[in-house]
Amino acid sequence: MSRVTRFAARDPGPAARIVGFIAHLRANGLRLGVGETQTALAALSHITASDPDQARRALKSVCAANSDEAARFDALFDSYWRNDGRVRERVTPSDRGGALRMQNTRDASGENSTMRGQIHAPEDGPGAAHGDGTGRLIASRTASLMHRDMRTFVSPQDIAAADSIARRLAQSLAYRRSRRRRAARRGDQLHFRRLIRASLSTGGEPLTLPRKKRPDRRVRIVALCDVSGSMTCYARIFLAFLAGLVRGDDATDAWLFHTRLVRISEALRDPDPLRALNRLTLLAEGFGGGTKIGKALEEFARGPARHSVNSRTMILILSDGYDTDPPEQIAAALARIKRRGGRILWLNPLKGWKDYAPVTAAMAAALPHLDLFAAATTLADLAALAPRLERL
């Protein structure tokens, strides 16, 4: 008895406690809506709710939606309902926890796009002073390197070349044959439903033969580009390349990662190429020093991938595979993305080097999950990709 959580006396009642429990689960990352709360209450009315074991299993079947959540559920259940007899002050937690966290990320991204943006406004010269206090010296030095590199080394010709290659590439993998057939003027199968209708007027004589075929459906490209220190000298090519991909197709998504993941599709779609580059520079500068490929991919797999990756998605990772995170994290994240059904291509600038072998732990861990591992050292390498992607 002592393990059971005590609830404060002013507490409204069982229904509110379930609401509180759902909020507790939500705060711990389970995706639950109002519908689940109702289902949970309904489920409890069909069992002997006074038995904690039954209640736990019933709530688990309603609230957990995959094996991860099912495995975590017991601990979450215990932490709410069997809190060693401690008094729980408020049953329905204020939304402070969640809101606080959301605010944090919003603040953080705001910082990238606005506050630091003022420091490095496009009018400033390259290598502007970073006078925003102590403790940021190293990060800002890296950032200023990025800054100069992207601004000065990208010649208009290079941008144009990378852009056109990217567009060609996007075209080569934009369509994939669907398996469901649709009416078409020329198709490989008869459209019987129409045929019967048409033959009604000719007394059962099928004079016209409507056909159907498999229509092409779009393949969506999601590109993730590493802009860490070790990738600096390739950043210009890759960013121009990403810009080409993104502008070629409205559905394409592009992300940068370094120590964090930032979406840059909007910035790249800016109609003015130079301003797009500036916006990008600002976004890129918010990042820290080291590379956290594993963390960034994990973040992608858990967040954006849930909505944007399906079986007709091609994920393009541009990175050299030098990572400070444990390699298992990369493998786990890639496996997660793969389960969503996408194809994963990894373009590594180092692979073009003579005698390169993917021996870094991160790269070795990633290899089994990749559909294609290709070199991307020069623009020519990127251009050579198109025929290989078509076959994929």
């Binding site: 008895m1 489920a43 039954q54 995959n66 398996r179």
Partner: protein, 322 residues
């Protein structure tokens, strides 16, 4: 110790007798309890874990689809079969695959028959409108699993097997059917379910399912059974087998599952293995290494897995299992 008590009492006094609480509890007593369900399944040879039995109970009580996830060969499909047997309901199965479309999942018109009917009508001098009404009537409709399930007078068990093999579009379509239990056919109008089917979906993680589908379902993860459960399963399915051999078999399979294999054997494989050993007339796993290696064909289904468990390893595992 009880949750309602925690909810009611607050200070944590005596746990109330469940019978005395209120009408809601009495109502629960009326319902077939989840333990009964579990026992009923066990009677028919399916040993369900507590989580699974509870999820099934909740799904039936709330009339929600049940989503079963787990590795291949842990008995997900079997749940639907047993449920159908238990309820005396018809089992309607829809096997999913990539490219599954409405014509195969819901309904299709019987085109050859329609053509013949039009011809016959033309010979008899019938007019167009009458013929049209006739050939797009129910007589000419071919029911596919989903439509079949909806049109049953008695609630059937609808098994949607390996939903993760179908593509996202089909999943979205399925969501619509699972929420309203009605299907519209342009020529006939909307057909609403006469009796709500009990829906069981299975998935083994070929791809992740959409959150929308997961949210609509009651979820249970079916895992490889632990030693005790597997013993019970083999005993109930292979009644003639010697108890000592069954212990050995289960111990051996449990040990093999801990090895690093490409394809971990499921319960179906364990049962095959037991049947194979019975066929080979083996009473002791350690007795004949050659026969054991031969019987392993029922457990290890890839070349690399066969290579990973050579005779010596198999003998060692069998020795430990005894």
């Amino acid at each position: 110790m009880s949750l309602v008590c925690m909810a009611e009492g607050g200070t944590g006094g005596q746990p109330p007798d469940p019978r005395s609480i209120s009408g809601t509890v009495k109502e629960q007593m009326r319902m077939p309890d989840w333990r009964d369900l579990q026992a009923g399944m066990a009677e028919r040879g399916y040993i369900a874990g507590d989580d699974l039995a509870m999820a099934l109970h909740i799904a039936l009580a709330l009339e929600r689809p049940l989503l079963l996830e787990g590795a291949a060969g842990v008995g997900k499909t079997e749940v639907a079969r047993i449920l159908a047997a238990l309820k005396g309901a018809r089992l309607i199965r829809l096997q999913c695959y990539e490219g599954l479309d409405a014509a195969q999942a819901i309904y299709e018109w019987n085109y050859p028959r329609q053509l013949l009917a039009i011809r016959a009508a033309a010979e008899g001098g019938e007019t167009g409108a009458g013929v049209e009404a006739r050939i797009f009537s129910e007589d000419y409709l071919l029911e596919r699993p989903l439509l079949q399930a909806i049109r049953q007078a008695e609630p059937p068990v609808l098994l949607i097997d390996e939903i993760d093999r179908a593509d996202e579009e089909f999943e979205a379509y399925l969501l619509e059917i699972l929420s309203d239990f009605q299907i519209s056919i342009p020529e006939l109008g909307t057909i609403t379910a006469r009796a709500r089917p009990m829906v069981v979906l299975t998935a083994n993680g070929t791809r992740d399912l959409s959150d929308a589908l997961r949210r609509r379902c009651i979820y249970a993860h079916v895992d490889y059974p632990d030693r005790a459960a597997e013993l019970a399963i083999v005993q109930s399915r292979c009644p003639g087998t010697d108890a000592a051999l069954i212990r050995q078999i289960v111990g051996f399979v449990q040990a093999i599952r801990r090895e690093d294999l490409e394809k971990t054997p499921g319960i179906a494989e364990t049962l095959d293995f037991a049947a194979a050993l019975a066929g080979l007339g083996i009473n002791d796993l350690t007795q004949d290494p050659v026969a054991l290696q031969a019987a392993l064909a029922t457990l290890l289904k890839t070349q690399s897995d066969r290579a990973a468990i050579p005779t010596e390893v198999a003998q060692r595992l069998a020795g430990q299992a005894a």
